[in-house]
Amino acid sequence: MADRPSPDFGKTVINLAALVLVLSYALPYVYLVSTSLKPPADVQQIPPSFFPGRVSLENFATVIGTAGLPNAFVNSTVVAVLTTLLSLLIAVPAAYVSALYRRRITVIFLLFALVTRMVPAVSLGVPLFQVMKTLGLLDTTLGLVLAHTSTAVPLALLLMSAFFEGVPKELEEAARMDGCTRFGAFVHIILPLMPSGLAITALFSFIASWNEFLFALLLTSQNSKTAPIVIAEFNSVYGLAWGPMTAAAVLYSLPVILVTLLLQKQIVGGLTFGAVKG
């Protein structure tokens, strides 16, 4: 009788394959963390070492003592949270209407909404700069939030449209027969069914704003400068401070990792949303 591979063997292979896949994604981040823990003299060691020979927190101490960085972290948080909320506020109702009441005009609307994602961000930089200057919003949190929202909304619109397409139109009709207004049905019946979609859209909007560099560079200077700009300042014309830069990047990545972990259940639900739809 021929030996058949046991189910455990198959599971092990799948797990190993998953581990390789995860490592290929995680390796740059692991190297970032590892570099942040190296003493300054070892950071650019030649040949480079993957793991620190000696563990040091000196880079983190440097980062914490860097003038402007704590403020920049606060600015980044405020801007990213407000951008996320504003993007959802604009995109979610718009996506619902465009998904459930599909007309030629809604298709055109969706296409036009994507325009800001179709052109290179740098080409929008100067026009945005002029608009913000005219509005007196340069170097303000509101100015940067509006700029980030202009690019986050199309993404949120697209994502939420896809989620709303899985919602039967009959749900809203039933709610209205029970006396709900259209808006009431949307808020009380439809939205509660969408925690995964909202979580994923919120997360993507948050990350887009959290990591955005170009608009923050052009539109801020002192008061609302965000962390990516301050982190980039470790790369000076007379040298790249790898150690502090990696330490700052590690600290800066923690909130996103935390938010992702908190929303893990909803994200997984969102990723599999509609997977078993007939």
């Binding site: 003493p39 300054p40 003299a41 650019q44 060691q45 030649i46 402007g68 930089g125 100067v126 700069f129 002029q130 200057k133 340069l138 170009l214 560079l217 052009l218 200077s221 002192q222 700009i229 980039a232 300042e233 790369n235 000076s236 014309v237 007379y238 040298g239 790249l240």
Partner: protein, 413 residues
Amino acid sequence: MNKTLYCSVAVLALMTSVARAEAITVLVEGGGHSLQQAAADAFTKETGIEVNFVEVPYQGVYDKLSAEIASGTSNYDVATIDVVWNAAFADHVEDLSDLFTDAVRADMPPALVADATVGGKMIGMPAWANAEIVFYRKDLWEDPANQAAFKEKYGYDLVPPATWQQWRDMAAFFTKDGIYGTVVIGGTSEEWMAEVLQAGSPGVILDDAGQVILDNQAHIDALENYRAPLCLDKSVPDNALEISWGEAQNLFYQGQAAMMKFWAHAYKMTPEDSQIAGKVGVAPMIAGSAGIAAIPGPWYNVIPSTSQHKDAARQFIAYLEAHNALGIEAPLGLAATNSAYQSYMGKPGYEHFGPLIETLSAPATKGRPLNKDYQELVDEAVMPAFQGALECEDNVAELLQDAAETARDILGQ
């Protein structure tokens, strides 16, 4: 009652406008901020004019200033810009010719004054300048055994390298016991460009008339000499194309290279926990047939034409020039004027100032071409030939001829 109110409002408005006129905003890269803060503080104390620095990453200076210029207005009264951007911003900044008095000119290396001149206009005042000089391991050079062995092998004394041949000899001599003699940088071309000037070229890439000279004999000789430690002597790590300034500096700091050519500020920044701390010697840049030469790395203070406070900005720039030594205590420890450097000569920890000022003031030292297409020339024409040569197989003259053709295409010559 109304009259009193109107008067009060008018006085307040006047006071506000005066207060606003008493503040200027300076756009600057991080390192440049620290070099100018002390002088700015003294300036404010003396004049009452507040100076606000807006610090951005290196490339941010160019991007932000470009965006401001494109918008037709500016939040900045002064911008501190890298010399490589002088040509790009020349049409959008004030002429500072009146600040370049004879005394000011006499107190600066001529190459810095030349780099400030674009189209007959003095577009900026040098704020600080840097240049590559020779760094070597004093402990190796002063070792009697090394001195005797070197003299026996090469027939002359082991002294800090001063010529192309000495550089190659010493690099070959010290390539032993697990260390390399030196490092060939393949990631950037400035160090080779310095050798082009040392070989007697009237300029790098372009001559003063803007004509392409990338394939002249000096460019060829310099590239042959530059790659010799890599391709002939084997006295450097063989991964030259992966080595840029940062890597070269680290090889030296980690005791893996006996000497290097590097920007002078690094002398003051040798890490305390480095293997070579306290053992670093410095000398002027090496010389070719035309003598010592380097590509200076100055930064200039310019006044955007859109500035709302041009007079205050002009005062600030003049003050910085007159009190240039105030920046030397900053971590980078650089200045632009001879007098600033001379005021620190002989002080412990500033041994690099002598070689730096000698290198900056050398007759053959000259800046990169002040051309709006400079970066494209480097990226599209120079680097392919330069890095091709460092693969040690192709003919240098042919590579540079191709590069010159590409450069002429870019410039429409």
